[in-house]
């Protein structure tokens, strides 16, 4: 299999398309997860945001990966609302800024963008790992990605590791007691439910992995 060594705007645009579809498809489940320990809107929130992001990217196609992520982030901020809007929006904006205006991104650069995204969420939301938030999916994902690269893995392998770590992180939120966000109001009653934000984070990382599938646009072996 060919190794992904650089990722260009088409790759990220493909990720966005996958994300738009996945979020729309999974929206009822995300809202359902947000019912017992939240306010039953997480799916609707993200669906509205990613639909708006797709439109923004279609209306003014960004020229670089960084520009694309900044556009998506800015659109999420100005269309989602709630807790997840500013968090995901700022995360993607910071990730985009980390990428600068390079037309192509190397795997380690993507790792830095992921780390920047996670830091943005932690900085803005103040959540520690284990607080039962999206951080519990995003942080292990970022760490797994960097670790896989360091261990000599390809970008694709690293993204697969990241997606897997995100999913495991999301599932590991079930027994946790929420300490941030709306679920924290419930105290002990928040235990036993999976965090909706961590679940959507795992979903977005799965899309990133899928965007790097062999032959996908923007990867080395894909159409240019």
């Amino acid at each position: 299999m060919p190794t992904v060594t650089v990722l260009d705007t088409a790759f990220f645009r493909h990720w966005l398309e996958l994300a738009v579809d996945a979020v729309h498809r999974e929206s009822p489940r995300l809202t359902e997860l947000d019912s017992p320990i939240g306010d039953a809107d997480h799916g609707a929130n993200l669906d509205r945001g990613f639909t708006a992001a797709a439109l923004a990217v279609r209306t003014e196609p960004p020229g670089t990966p960084g520009e694309l992520l900044v556009t998506v982030g800015r659109t999420l901020v100005s269309s989602v609302g709630g807790a997840s809007g500013p968090l995901y929006g700022t995360a993607l904006r910071r990730a985009g800024k980390a990428l600068g205006d390079a037309p192509e991104v190397t795997p380690p650069e993507l790792g830095e963008a992921l780390a920047a995204a996670v830091n943005a969420v932690r900085e803005l939301g103040g959540a520690e790992p284990g607080d039962k938030t999206m951080v519990d999916a995003l942080l292990p994902a970022s760490q797994a990605y960097t670790g896989a690269l360091t261990d000599g893995g390809s970008a694709r392998e690293a993204l697969a590791a990241a997606a897997e770590a995100a999913l495991a992180g999301a599932e590991a939120t079930v027994p946790l007691l929420a300490r941030k966000g709306r679920a924290s109001y419930l105290g002990e009653r928040s235990i036993g439910h999976q965090d909706p934000g961590a679940t959507s984070s795992a979903l977005l990382l799965a899309c990133l992995r899928d965007a790097s599938a062999p032959g996908a646009p923007g990867t080395e072996a894909g159409p240019r």
Partner: protein
């Protein structure tokens, strides 16, 4: 789902159109999704902006007008508005004396208002923010998102609004808003869960004969479930929770608030019990407001908010106000 709506995703814009029909004295900007006083900006007057998820009507749009808010930003149902709305509202009401953001303490509201403040400061508008967190049902600790903002929002908006109307400077208005919040505590109870237009079914199950104590205003489950009890006992439970965190000392403002699905008659029944209990505890009621002010869609239930008051705050309370939901003195 039984609702007087056209479609779940049209509720907020449709309701804003209706607000504009009923209140031509307000400028309703459907594009920017903000509701602004027609006379804004007023030169030299501190602007007051609030906002939050919709579904709590009349909060906040019903509190826009003379002596209260200068603008409100309604989000989707139970979803914080976005920074763009807050920034537009802030620009629309800035008369050069700065703008105070009144933010209910929910992660979404706090974060979006924080981003909005950055936008506003970039645009050269001086902004202060006061976070309202009066709900004693939630422990205020490092390990939660802190107490929620509920009924005290009305007190903060009314009292800070009256002060701003009198020409006070930004820091003083912000300080009073903070003092009102610190002097206020709330506790709520639900007899039924509410149904969001998007979900179409109740947000949680509350069996017959049971009630939910320490409820939030977004259909979140509460702190504890109990068997139905008479109004006298329920008022006792709510006031115990409030007074445990707000030791009485002098007169109070009282809000007996309906959550949307409870008849006014029942709120008056609760009000009578509140009066009885506060009398017994030696807490004089200075002013008492009874009605649906901070609602949760069609939820049946009520919340009690107490605010320790003094002559200064009472004068601000009695000052004229002219908004859709609160009006006196003009």
């Amino acid at each position: 789902m039984k609702k007087l709506v056209n479609a779940p995703d049209r509720v907020v814009p449709d309701a804003l159109r209706g607000l504009a029909v009923a209140h031509p004295e307000l400028a309703v900007d459907l594009e920017a999704r903000i509701v602004v006083r027609r006379d804004a900006p007023r030169a030299g007057k501190v602007g007051l902006v609030s906002g939050g998820g919709s579904g709590h009507e009349p909060l906040h749009t019903g509190f826009v007008g003379f002596g209260m808010l200068d603008a409100a930003c309604p989000g989707e149902v139970f979803t914080s508005p976005v920074p763009d709305q807050m920034a537009s509202a802030t620009r629309a009401v800035d008369g050069g004396a700065g703008v105070l953001h009144i933010v209910k303490n929910y992660t979404g509201d706090v974060l979006n208002f924080r981003l909005a403040a950055e936008l506003c400061e970039d645009a050269g508008v001086e902004v202060r923010q006061v976070v309202v967190d009066d709900d004693v049902a939630v422990t205020d600790s490092l390990y939660t998102a802190g107490r929620r903002g509920t009924g005290a929002t009305l007190f903060v908006e009314k009292l800070a609004g009256a002060l701003a109307e009198s020409g006070a400077p930004l820091d003083q208005v912000a300080a009073t808003a903070r003092r009102v919040n610190e002097s206020s505590r709330s506790f709520g109870v639900a007899l039924t869960a509410c149904t969001t237009p998007a979900k179409g079914s109740p947000t949680f199950d509350l069996p017959d004969g049971q009630l939910e104590l320490g409820i939030g205003i977004h259909g979140e489950p509460g702190r504890e479930r109990r068997a139905m009890m008479p109004a006298a006992e329920l008022a006792e439970v709510c006031l115990d929770a409030v007074l445990a965190d707000l030791p009485p000392g002098g007169p109070v403002l009282v809000l007996v608030n309906g959550t949307g699905g409870t008849p006014l008659q029942e709120l008056y029944v609760v009000c009578a019990e509140v009066d009885r209990i506060l009398r017994r505890r030696g807490v004089p009621i200075a002013r008492c407001l009874v009605g649906d002010y901070v609602t949760s869609l069609d939820m049946a239930g009520c919340s009690l908010t107490l605010c320790r008051t003094d002559d200064v705050l009472l004068r601000l309370w009695d000052a004229p106000v002219q908004t859709p939901a609160l009006r006196w003195g003009r």
